[in-house]
């Protein structure tokens, strides 16, 4: 109950953030721009709409997750509003969980709005809509959840600017872990174990990327989807627990 009320409060607070609307409008404009670009290309027009649409939803969603996510905790500390919450009978992990759920709700609604924009464009251009599109959108939301958890984790122990840099770096690394593993396999001894250890520790964000499957209409078996979803949830849970442990020990001055 306490978690939910914090979550809704966070959601309401997010709605007041001008950054959110900026990014949302920009994403919708990008999706709309595919209609103009479509006239310049040759051949597969559907492909361009889908690629630009899903790319924009993914990219702007990640930006929202990062730049709203980093402020979740650090802003409360900066404005000293944290004291009013900590002094109440609310466990710190409940506070974090509430914050996390609030932003996740914002992201889900945002993705729904952007997806509605994309679907409208697809519908009016008579592009056939396949089930794999919705699977890909679901995976994109899952990626947001992981990225938000990363942002929340950094925001529990560092400033907003530093958290933004760290989270962006994690996002980049998260898409390169496959290469990390490949490098590791070419090494021997300690280097190999270090790189492989990093591979398993860092989030493999490429797993959530089904954008290419939508472009080429390649369906993904439900079993695989469930495995990816389980991976995303488990990773998020791990990050949230880590954030709680750090946040529990933190002293507010």
């Amino acid at each position: 109950m306490k978690v939910l009320s914090i979550a809704f409060n966070t959601f309401r607070e997010n709605l007041r953030d001008k950054l959110l609307y900026n990014l949302l409008i920009f994403a919708l404009l990008m999706i709309g721009s595919s209609l103009v670009l479509m006239r310049l290309t040759l051949g597969e027009f559907h492909r361009l709409i889908l690629d630009i649409g899903l790319g924009s939803i993914n990219f702007f969603g990640v930006l929202i997750a990062i730049f709203v996510g980093i402020g979740l905790v650090s802003k409360e500390i900066e404005k000293k509003t944290i004291y009013t919450i900590v002094s109440k009978p609310v466990a710190r992990y409940q506070f974090l969980l509430g914050k996390y759920l609030g932003l996740s709700l914002t992201l889900v609604i945002n993705t729904a709005i952007m997806a509605a924009g994309l679907l409208a464009v697809l519908y009016f251009q008579d592009v056939p809509i396949h089930a794999v599109l919705f699977k890909a959108l679901g995976m994109i939301v899952l990626e947001f959840m992981v990225v938000t958890a990363v942002a929340l984790l950094f925001s529990t122990f560092s400033s907003a600017t530093l958290s933004a840099i760290f989270t962006l770096a994690m996002y980049v690394i998260g898409h390169l872990t496959t290469d990390l593993k490949a490098f590791g396999q070419k090494m021997e001894g300690v280097g190999r174990s270090v790189l492989e250890g990093m591979y398993y520790l860092l989030p493999n964000l490429d797993r959530f990327n089904l954008k290419g499957n939508v472009t080429h209409q390649l369906d993904v078996p439900v079993g695989d989807l469930l495995m990816i979803a389980a991976y995303g949830m488990a990773y998020t849970a791990f990050l949230l627990m880590l954030a709680s442990v750090i946040f529990q020990r933190r002293d507010f001055r």
Binding site: T41, D51, Y171, H175, N209, K211
Partner: protein, 282 residues
């Protein structure tokens, strides 16, 4: 306010003129990093990257004529695009057609198509084009027939392909088979420039067909009368041919009554793929 806008406009235009943007665009293609390096840098947005490069490439390609080295860059760009998205079959196909027919670079076209065929074994279009390149552009009828056979075995290939493939194997140097092949390709390509090229090629094949008919009639005439006729028209009037064929380009068939040689007035050279056949190469 208005003044500063004016200054901005003039500066921008002067810069555009000084740095000739169209030339710079093609240079950009040449400097594209290899697809293997670009792909990880795009962080999962490589399909979108392929689309954007494709758009850029089309703008450069819009020019009527590109220089020779520009085609190398265009090939490089196509290679990068198809590395970013190996299933972009449209890019392989259009690139393959254009590199052979616009650029006259069947070597580059084949390299691109081989890559596409390897990545997308389910597409019949790509081995079909490879067959065209080998048969017409490189004069290797056997290899051409082999690829057409491969295309014919791909699920979803059109019905006429298996028949064409067998005929190509059996009579690789037969102009009628070549004409059938060209007609099939013509149907697949809505592009007007490509269609025009295919029509020209078909007319060249028709010349070859006519020359063979004429040569055979002349041979028979010579065997029976021990001399060549004075004019080609005599072949028809003496019943060796129903009529002297018309030259498809609007010229005429020239005839040397001393040696018995016939040739076209517009295309004195004979087609390579069939010359190989005459020399016993095929």
């Amino acid at each position: 306010m208005g003044f500063s806008l004016l200054v901005l406009l003039t500066l921008q235009q002067t810069l555009d003129v000084r740095m000739d943007t169209s030339a710079a665009k093609i240079e950009e293609l040449a400097q594209l990093p290899r697809g293997e390096y670009l792909k990880p840098a795009l962080l999962g947005y490589h399909h979108l990257g392929a689309d954007i490069l494709w758009l850029q490439l089309l703008q450069v390609w819009g020019k009527k004529k590109n220089a020779d080295n520009e085609y190398e860059w265009i090939y490089h760009a196509l290679d990068v695009i198809t590395t970013l998205d190996p299933r972009y079959t449209y890019a392989y196909y259009v690139g393959g057609v254009a590199l052979t027919n616009y650029a006259n670079r069947p070597d580059l076209s084949n390299r691109l198509l081989e890559k596409g065929h390897h990545e997308n074994p389910g597409e019949w279009n790509l081995p079909f084009l490879l067959g065209y390149n080998y048969y017409f552009a490189l004069g290797d009828a056997i290899k051409g027939a082999e690829y057409i056979g491969r295309a014919a075995r791909t699920p979803g290939a059109p019905d006429f392909l298996p028949g064409l493939a067998t005929r190509m194997h059996a009579e690789a140097g037969n102009p009628e088979v070549a004409l059938q092949f060209l007609k099939a390709l013509w149907k697949e390509n809505p592009d007007l420039v490509v269609r025009e090229k295919l029509e020209t090629r078909a007319k060249e094949v028709m010349i070859e067909r006519d020359l063979r008919t004429l040569e055979q009639a002349l041979k028979q005439y010579h065997r029976e009368k021990n001399a060549f006729p004075m004019r080609l028209r005599d072949l028809a009037s003496d019943g060796y041919l129903s009529q002297v064929p018309e030259e498809p380009f609007g010229g005429s068939y020239l005839f040397d009554s001393e040696t018995g040689e016939v040739r076209s007035s517009t295309h004195p050279k004979r087609l390579k793929v069939f010359r190989l056949d005459l020399e016993g190469g095929v």
